[in-house]
């Protein structure tokens, strides 16, 4: 019941040649970053984050668009993009669940909650629900260990999780879909 992210989609970067033209909002934000950092290399990583904020993820076309706009080698930018786990090089659901699976959350039972999510939403780490609502991704300690187990859904922390609180949250999120440029 899930869309498995295929491992070979990362190959597309080398074969895709069509750069997407960045939109005005993206360009304005990138130009602002140019005033904060002394060179374009530093702005490159910022631009990846900016584009992701607007598009939900960084497609090959977007990556090439950034490379072209900033005059950076696309291969360098791809090297950077693939290093950082919060830069999504594959499409994600409207709500990314950053699920803490570090030590305190483990002690407090996060394995069971992971199984529960897999059972109820049909997704495990790296997967997106068929309706495109949720993507589940593991993340290191979210720095809220006294309220473990925790996860983030979109920009919001969810603390002291139980199976029931997760069920309630899923219902809540499904009622109020999040707006984004591309959806």
């Amino acid at each position: 019941m899930s869309v498995q992210m295929s491992s070979d989609s990362s190959m597309i970067a080398s074969t895709s040649t069509r750069a997407r033209k960045l939109n005005a909002a993206e360009i304005a934000e990138i130009e602002h970053e140019m005033t904060l950092y002394p060179d374009k290399q530093a702005v490159g990583l910022e631009a990846l984050k900016i584009v992701q904020k607007h598009q939900g993820w960084v497609s090959d076309e977007s990556l090439l668009g950034i490379a072209k706009y900033l005059d950076l080698p696309a291969s360098d930018l791809e090297g950077v993009a693939t290093f950082f786990n919060l830069v999504y090089r594959q499409p994600v659901g409207r709500n990314v669940i950053l699920f803490c699976n570090s030590v305190t959350c483990w002690i407090m039972g996060c394995d069971d909650l992971r199984r529960h999510i897999t059972h109820s939403l049909g997704i495990d780490f790296g997967q997106t629900t068929e309706d495109g609502e949720f993507t589940l991704i593991p993340v290191p300690c979210l720095g809220d260990c006294d309220k473990a187990p925790v996860m983030m859904v979109g920009e919001k922390m969810q603390r002291k999780l139980t199976r029931d609180s997760i069920d309630e949250l899923v219902v809540e999120v499904r009622i109020q879909p999040k707006a984004r440029d591309d959806v």
Binding site: Y37, D39, L48, F84, V103, W106, C141
Partner: protein
């Protein structure tokens, strides 16, 4: 004056103080003290004599670190201050509290540090997931500019400072200070070779100081109330207060500012309320996932850098992770190994290949397929991944819970092998 300089303004039932509230609580007195005639060297001496040690994990004396930055006429004009706000050490939840609870305190501390090393540009390298801290800091930085604590010619001192808030795109290795600098420069965040040290050649090749959030939050108090007051705060050998946390199956998990030198027992049984009913304390990691396990017999030690060091562990981040008697110790160490294997930056072979191997062996123990040879391989890796064998301290950090875990929980490891299963419920 206060005996809780880091948290006195923090009240989780309301938002953080705005700049007016912060000023009314003796805030930004440090910059006023500087404006009354303290030179950078004066401030350096004050911080040196205060005895402040870095709160980012290594406990390196802050004044000494700053003193390596080239000073005087011949030194480079451009210098940088970088705040390490990348908190991601498993079990560590202190910098989040400080930034969400009192963002002006951090800016106040940054002013002191930047003035001392004469850096006109400062970056806050903030963990991307810390959205609430980001919002609090954004607002505070804006207020500080409006009130003239940031920007040009601050309080008529002739000193300029700009602050840029950088939100990171992830990966634990970015907390390592040279990897952090690469990430800030928009590169893959592999650590850099040392020397040169960042103090001499750091961000974009310029002299750079990287300090932890909590370290910087100590500075305003030291400048405002003086070294004697600061040293009087402590109950032990090291000076000042520290953020201490307890997580795991205790009655009242949380984070508190306490004097250095507070007994472990007071933190665990007093503030954290002791173990939940029906559970016994088995062991604890005193300062995050990269520290060695300690045992109930260590409860009467004091939370001081040297004293915890003598017990074979490290105070590190000061946030303790508690293992109870009904949670599998092999599983706990295994969880940490998964984390370290996943977060290896891949630059050097022992870490890139060794940690996944170690992790794989732990999966085997859990699945009931472990054997004596596996155990030997784990023991060998304490050395293979140890200090001096790898390019940075990530892999040696992993050997802390691994080595101490193998020593203290030997029976549990044996049992996983002889019974070919994990007998704990999880």
């Amino acid at each position: 004056m206060t005996d809780r300089p880091l948290t006195r303004n923090i009240d989780l039932n309301r938002g953080p103080l705005d700049i007016a509230g912060y000023e009314a609580a003796d805030g930004y007195q440090s910059m006023h003290a500087i404006a009354k005639g303290l030179s950078p060297d004066d401030v350096l001496n004050i911080v040196k004599t205060s005895g402040l040690k870095g709160r980012g994990g290594a406990g390196f004396p802050t004044g000494l670190k700053w003193s390596f930055v080239p000073r005087g006429d011949g030194s480079p004009k451009q210098k940088y201050l970088v705040v390490n706000a990348d908190e991601m050490e498993p079990g560590t939840f202190k910098d989040r509290l400080l930034m969400e609870g009192d963002p002006h305190l951090l800016i106040d501390g940054m002013l002191v540090a930047a003035y001392t090393i004469q850096a006109n540009m400062a970056y806050i390298f903030l963990r991307g997931e810390y959205i609430d801290a980001e919002n609090a800091l954004k607002k505070a930085v804006k207020e500080a500019y409006e009130r003239g604590y940031l920007g040009k010619n601050i309080l008529g001192t002739g000193f300029d400072l700009d602050i840029v808030l950088h939100t990171s795109a992830g990966r634990y290795i970015c907390g390592e200070e040279t990897a952090l600098l690469n990430a800030l420069e928009g590169r893959r965040a592999n650590p850099r070779a040392k020397p040169p040290f960042p103090q001499v050649s750091g961000l974009w090749g310029k002299p750079t100081i990287v300090n932890n959030v909590e370290t910087l939050c100590n500075l305003p108090g030291i400048l405002a109330y003086g070294v004697d007051w600061y040293q009087g705060l402590s109950r032990g050998v090291d000076h000042g207060t520290k953020m201490f946390g307890v997580s795991g199956k205790v009655k009242n998990p949380g984070c508190w500012e306490l004097p250095l030198g507070t007994p472990v027992r007071e933190l665990l049984e007093g503030h954290a309320g002791g173990m939940r009913d029906g559970l016994e304390l088995r062991a604890f990691l005193p300062g995050g996932g990269s520290t060695d396990f300690m045992l109930p017999q260590h409860l009467d030690l004091n939370l001081d850098y040297d004293e915890i060091g003598k017990a074979g562990s490290r105070l590190a981040t000061g946030t303790m992770i508690v293992l109870d008697d009904q949670t599998c110790p092999v599983g706990m160490v295994g969880n940490l190994m998964t984390f370290f294997a996943h977060e290896s930056c891949g630059f050097c072979t022992p870490c890139r290949d060794g940690l996944p191997w170690v992790d794989e062996i732990f999966r085997g123990f859990e699945a009931g397929t472990g054997n004596q040879k596996d155990l030997q391989i784990l023991h060998d890796h304490i050395e293979y991944l140890g200090p001096g064998r790898t390019f940075c301290a990530l892999a040696p950090g992993a050997t802390a819970p691994l080595g101490s875990g193998l020593k203290y929980f030997a029976e549990d490891f044996e049992k996983h092998i002889t019974e070919q299963r994990c007998s704990y419920k999880h």
